[in-house]
């Protein structure tokens, strides 16, 4: 990852990011200060509801620093750069916000996240607090032909967050909120695609820690890329392909707003060209982990139950 330029040397950058976010949203957010993680919660919690805590390794944002808010997470905990937050802070944050309805943790499916959420769950259950975890495993290229449950997560976690928020806000119990969250994960597929300038090619499946691409194809234009993306993701969706497809286009650092919407328009057109119904379509900057020109593209195949819980959420920094 490209070094950040606008930082203060010898300071904890992520701590200063959180301070900046608090400067922007003092009336909505509360910070739980601690030495080893970065924690934000809603200032006013809905009483009597499952509390949703999104967590993951620290990054350049807005996932996960920017996800707390109406229709989104009740709290977020992030660790240092690329490093899952520790189980102890997950536990403490949950203790601080829980409302007797249980805790749902949502994290991307990486080993560190699994280990810490799993341990936090154990600690909470030891205190009699019902806890479940939903691990997002949308990254189709993160494992070679392995089961979905072995895959890592990308920006598809955004779909899970907002559905979990809507379900919990509508009063569903933990078991239900967890079930519908898992259902969304089950029906979400994402891929990363990066433009390689030197080769004038698109690399599919680059990992954000430098994992090699799975496939490299010569670059022609957006329409051709969109065609390929639609083919791959719809194929991956398998038996869920008849659902209504919600599209999320996540721009990488070097890719502009304009290009995000060009890609979104192209994807929607290709899907509709195949007679596939589309749902909520968004383009934005959600998960800023790649120093590339490119996108993470996520499709979620909603069924009627999921549709109930999906409405556009205007977060502070993005719409999802």
């Amino acid at each position: 990852m490209k070094e950040l330029i606008f930082i203060n040397k010898n300071k904890q950058h992520l701590d200063e990011v959180i301070q900046g976010i608090m400067a922007a949203r003092p009336e909505a957010l509360r910070r739980i200060e601690n030495e080893y993680s970065y924690v934000l919660t809603k200032k006013e919690l809905f009483a009597d509801k499952v509390q949703v805590i999104v967590n993951g390794g620290g990054g350049r944002g807005p996932f996960f620093e920017g996800v707390v808010g109406e229709g989104m997470a009740d709290a977020m905990v992030s660790g240092d750069f690329n490093c899952a937050p520790n189980a102890y802070m997950l536990y403490q944050t949950a203790k601080e916000i829980e409302q007797n309805k249980g805790i749902l943790f949502i994290a991307n499916n990486f080993m560190g996240d699994y280990l810490n959420n799993d341990m936090a769950k154990e600690l909470l259950e030891g205190d009699g607090i019902e806890t479940k975890v939903c691990y997002a495993s949308d990254d189709i290229y993160s494992s070679r032909g392995e089961n979905k449950e072995n895959r890592g997560g990308l920006s598809g976690i955004g779909f899970i967050m907002k559905v979990a928020a809507a379900a919990s806000e509508s009063g569903e119990n933990l078991k239900e909120v967890h079930r519908v969250s898992e259902k969304v994960n089950e029906r979400t597929r994402s891929l990363s695609l990066c433009y390689n300038v030197g080769k004038n090619a698109i690399e599919f499946g680059n990992g954000f820690s430098g994992e090699k691409p799975t496939e490299i194809v010569p670059y022609e234009d957006v329409n051709r890329v969109a065609e390929k993306v639609v083919g791959v993701l719809m194929n991956e969706l398998g038996r869920y392909r008849s659902g209504r497809i919600h599209i999320m286009v996540n721009r990488m650092l070097y890719t502009s707003y304009a290009e995000g919407y060009i890609m979104l328009g192209a994807l929607k057109k290709k899907l509709e060209g195949r007679g596939i119904k589309t749902g909520i379509c968004t383009a934005g900057n959600y998960f800023d982990a790649y120093d590339y020109n490119g996108f993470i593209i996520s499709f979620m195949a909603a069924d009627d139950e999921i549709e109930n819980y999906t409405k556009r959420v205007n977060g502070f920094d993005f719409t999802v």
Binding site: Y36, N82, C83, A84, N86, L115, N116, D118, G207, E211
Partner: protein, 215 residues
């Protein structure tokens, strides 16, 4: 000597902390090539916290010392290694006596049960290129010393030899676990970062034990 005194165990842990802190660049480098590059920073942070805690507190019992070490790692680290190395010091805590010393068997069982707890938590076994590949041979070696009722000094020295061999062996493995598994065949040739950390911890134990009075 057949036992280790709590103040010596503390010296071992302080030296292990210093060794990890010093080796942060090495750990970072390996995790950058076949992982996400945060292992060194996480381990350094964890063991800096441990060192600070050890320097501040007096310990009179083996179990409180080892438990405090594990909890400090859990609280400060995060990442996979936070839980894993925390569990290494916490998982076998029932074997540590609430006394100011521990014997050969207690030490060996302590680490053995820590290893088992990691296997459970992490749903892994040795052979998948993790820190277990260094920890497991270290434990086997320690167990043997304990069975033969050797010296406590030998226990740690043999433990280190086992860990080192295991770390070396991890080079030939392909990763099947954690972020590094996505680097597939290219993980072969490099050791697992967590195995390197583990061997460094046992190296520090072995280096320090010879300096302890009454050892």
């Amino acid at each position: 000597m057949k036992t280790i005194h709590v103040k010596n165990m503390k010296a071992l842990l302080v030296h292990a902390s210093e060794t990890i802190i010093e080796n942060e660049p090495l750990l970072t480098k390996i995790d950058t090539v076949i992982g996400d590059g945060d292992h060194g920073i996480g381990m350094k942070r964890g063991f800096m916290a441990v060192k600070k805690m050890l320097e501040k507190k007096e310990f009179l019992e083996m179990d409180t010392l080892c438990k405090s070490t594990g909890i400090e790692l859990l609280k400060s680290m995060g990442g996979a290694s936070g839980v894993i190395f925390g569990t290494m010091f916490l998982g076998g805590i029932s074997h540590m006596p609430h006394e100011n010393f521990a014997d050969l068997n207690q030490i060996a069982s302590y680490f053995a049960d820590g290893e088992a707890a990691i296997e459970r938590r992490g749903k892994t076994k040795p052979g998948q290129k993790t820190m277990l590949d260094a920890l497991m041979p270290a434990i086997s070696a320690m167990k043997q010393v304990a069975e033969n009722s050797g010296e406590i000094r030998t226990l740690f020295e043999e433990g280190y030899k086992g860990a080192l061999q295991g770390m070396e062996a991890s080079k030939t493995m392909q990763s099947r676990v954690g972020r590094s598994k996505n680097f597939h065949e290219s993980t072969i040739g490099l050791p697992d970062p967590g195995a390197v950390s583990t061997s460094l911890i046992f190296k520090a134990f072995a280096e320090e034990i010879v300096k302890c009075e009454e050892c």
